[in-house]
């Protein structure tokens, strides 16, 4: 315990350094901006800003990038409530009740509850990351290749199960991501794999290019198709930022439940903030005495999901910092940021770079405090930003993405690869394929292959190693069980559909 406190103290002394506070503020500001603007996602932004962190020291760079991530969760709720447009995928459910509240003239209360819930969740998650860091790191040291492989498999299965839409299609995306990740030099032999004779592909397809294409460019192409969205901005001054006593009473339990749920879903590989907010909304609706109020301005429908997404955004750092496994696309970009600075994510970060580890964790608390200050009194400014028309916004995003990708390696071909993935992303959406599992698989692919090969070498080609080793066996068992559970209702539904048809 005293260990934890002294570590946290170290963290706070580093994060509290004026320069790092500045980076934290900058990250929170950019994050809020990104969250507010629809069509600019977190993944694309962090990818765009990677080159900006080249010159910074690693602690500052990571503090800033982390700030963007959880800042976006805050900003997304603002537009959901005031404009009924989710700025981020994580605040889609906040629209349902938050905007209703705003229509009833309670925008202030909704915004305040969202901010208070997020702040509370952020604080709890900060402590959780700190507390779980050490024990999990110790577990990680016990991990051999078989365990790592099994854990990553579990992560991919989670991503499949938690993704929207068809389970089989998500599996297809995972496999596609794995296949794409094998392009480039082989780790053991150095042989160029599936490079089609192009020297540009020898280093493999860069993750930032894939992320930028699938999440940045594809999103723009798709938005261009949408017919003029009606943005009904709540006009007039937002009054009564302070929620009433009744509001606070109504939302205290949803905030607590959302925090717990979000923290758990954030740690799980393949989970994350989006899933957490949906899960929390569903839970609050189930638990409510009068579920009919949901969708008509129930404050619980704002408090729960907003706490959950913020908690999840922060706890998703746990697998990255302790096991070195990124649980979602944003964390995969953090791997990229760490690698640029020569840090290999994993259990050794905590021992070798304690200032980085604890500084980043403590900065999350500072960041959450700043976000409350940025968000509540400055809401008007953020809303005004929404009036920037998309026809000005999207060419700026394209140009910024291009420069960002180019500057990472000074490579024009990277920019073209991103364009190809932009078109691919557009096609995927048209066929109801989800890009998120593909990206996660793409990131985990090389790690999985490496661990699979090592495990097979150690076991002399005996595949039963994955089942006979206890930790790995349990992980594989959970993966298979999850997959079966996810597939069962689909099979049952198919059968129902067949029955329905035969009756006609």
């Amino acid at each position: 315990m005293s260990d934890l406190l002294s570590n946290l103290w170290l963290g706070f002394s580093i994060a509290g350094h004026p320069i790092n506070l500045g980076f934290c503020l900058l990250g929170a500001l950019v994050g809020t901006l990104v969250g507010v603007l629809p069509g600019v996602g977190t993944v694309a932004t962090i990818a765009m800003l990677l080159p900006i962190t080249f010159g910074l020291d690693p602690v500052g760079a990571l503090i800033m990038l982390a700030g963007i991530y959880y800042g976006a969760q805050y900003g997304g709720s603002t537009t959901s409530i005031l404009v009924n447009i989710p700025g981020e995928a994580t605040s889609v459910v906040t629209c349902l009740d938050g905007h209703e509240m705003a229509k009833q003239g309670r925008a202030g209360a909704a915004l305040a509850i969202a901010a208070i819930g997020s702040f509370f969740a952020g604080c709890v998650a900060t402590v959780l990351v700190a507390a779980l860091g050490q024990p999990l790191t110790r577990v990680a040291l016990e991990f051999g290749p078989a365990e790592y492989f099994a854990l990553m498999l579990l992560g991919l299965i989670f991503a499949v199960v938690l993704a929207k839409g068809s389970v089989v299609k998500s599996i297809a995306m995972v496999v596609t991501g794995l296949l794409l990740s094998t392009v480039g030099s082989d780790l053991d032999t150095g042989a160029g794999r599936m490079t089609l004779g192009l020297p540009e592909l020898l280093d493999g397809i860069g993750f930032t290019n894939v992320a930028m294409g699938l999440f940045g460019f594809a999103e723009i192409i798709r938005n261009l198709e949408a017919t003029g969205s009606n943005r009904e901005i709540i006009e007039g001054k937002i009054k009564g930022l302070m929620p009433t006593r009744q509001d606070l009473k109504d939302s205290s339990w949803p905030i607590a439940r959302g925090t717990v749920l979000g923290s758990i879903l954030g740690i799980l590989p393949g989970g994350g903030a989006v899933v957490a907010s949906f899960a929390s909304y569903t839970m609050e609706k189930r638990l409510a005495k009068d579920p009919k109020r949901f969708g008509r301005g129930a404050i619980e429908g704002v408090a729960g999901p907003e706490s959950a997404n913020n908690a999840a955004a922060q706890t998703s750092f746990i697998p990255l910092l302790t096991l070195g496994i990124p649980p979602n696309a944003v964390m995969a970009l953090m791997v990229g940021a760490m690698t640029i600075h020569g840090i290999v994510p994993g259990p050794q970060v905590m021992t070798k770079q304690p200032d980085l580890f604890w500084g980043m964790i403590a900065s999350m608390w500072f960041g959450n405090l700043m976000l409350i200050i940025i968000n509540l009194p400055m809401v008007g400014i953020w809303v005004r930003l929404l009036r920037v028309p998309y026809r000005i916004l999207f060419p700026s995003i394209i140009v910024f993405c291009c420069i960002g990708i180019y500057s990472i390696d000074n490579s024009p071909s990277d920019v073209m690869i991103a364009a190809i993935f932009g078109v691919l992303g557009y096609w995927l959406v048209k066929h109801d394929f989800e890009p998120a599992p593909l990206v996660l698989a793409f990131v985990l692919g090389p790690l999985m292959e490496d661990n699979l090969r090592r495990a097979m070498l150690i076991a002399r080609g005996d595949t039963s190693i994955f089942i006979t080793r206890p930790i790995s066996g349990v992980l594989i068992f959970i993966s298979v069980a999850m997959l079966v559970l996810a597939l069962l209702p689909m099979i049952r539904k198919r059968r129902d559909e067949v029955f329905v048809e035969s009756e006609n």
């Binding site: 296949l179 998309y390 060419p395 070498l457 002399r460």
Partner: protein, 178 residues
């Protein structure tokens, strides 16, 4: 059911099965095609050596899996009714891609051979490349306001130059060099 089959004669005689879920069917087929292409591209790589993996083992493993899953999706498109194909926009995507590619080839110049003819695109530098890419992207929108876009493009270019070249000191060529 019978009426439905008549109203859509695409199934009919040659194909005993009607495509009931075209999004699934063509989506799955495309994945199978990708997997087959990967198998072909990886065909020169060595496979297993005893119990250690060769460079070609994993790509083939994943490609094989993708064929199975993709074929499954395609077959489900034959058996289960699904939504129709969405129409694709052409102008928007084409212009966005064009803007990106123009930026890529002009920022530092680009050489390639087109059917044996060497083509050399000159280096235009950050300022021109950014502005060009911005203006081509503008064309992708439904509604184009020239004056507004020209001003916004110039502002964005200036912002990028200040941010990337001066604040971040990244080594971009600023001006065209021939």
């Amino acid at each position: 059911m019978a009426e439905d089959a008549q109203s859509r004669p695409t199934g009919g005689g040659i194909f005993p099965l009607r495509i009931r879920g075209p999004r699934e069917f063509y989506g799955g087929l495309a994945l199978v095609a990708v997997a087959l292409f990967a198998l072909w591209a990886a065909s020169d790589l060595a496979g297993m050596r005893g119990f250690s993996f060769g460079p070609g083992t994993t790509p083939r493993l994943f490609a094989g899996l993708l064929i199975v899953v993709g074929a499954g999706i395609a077959i489900s498109g034959l058996l289960v009714d699904g939504p129709p194909l969405e129409s694709y926009a052409l102008r928007g995507p084409a212009l966005v891609v064009c803007a990106i590619v123009v930026f890529a080839v002009t920022i530092r110049g680009f050489r390639f051979s087109f059917f044996g003819l060497p083509v050399r695109i000159p280096e235009l530098g950050l300022i021109v490349a950014t502005f060009l890419a911005y203006m081509i992207s503008v064309l992708a929108a439904r509604e184009i306001r020239w004056v507004e876009s020209l001003i916004a493009g110039a502002v964005m270019t200036a912002f990028c130059v200040v941010l990337f070249r001066y604040l971040l000191q990244l080594p971009f060529p600023l001006w065209p060099a021939f």
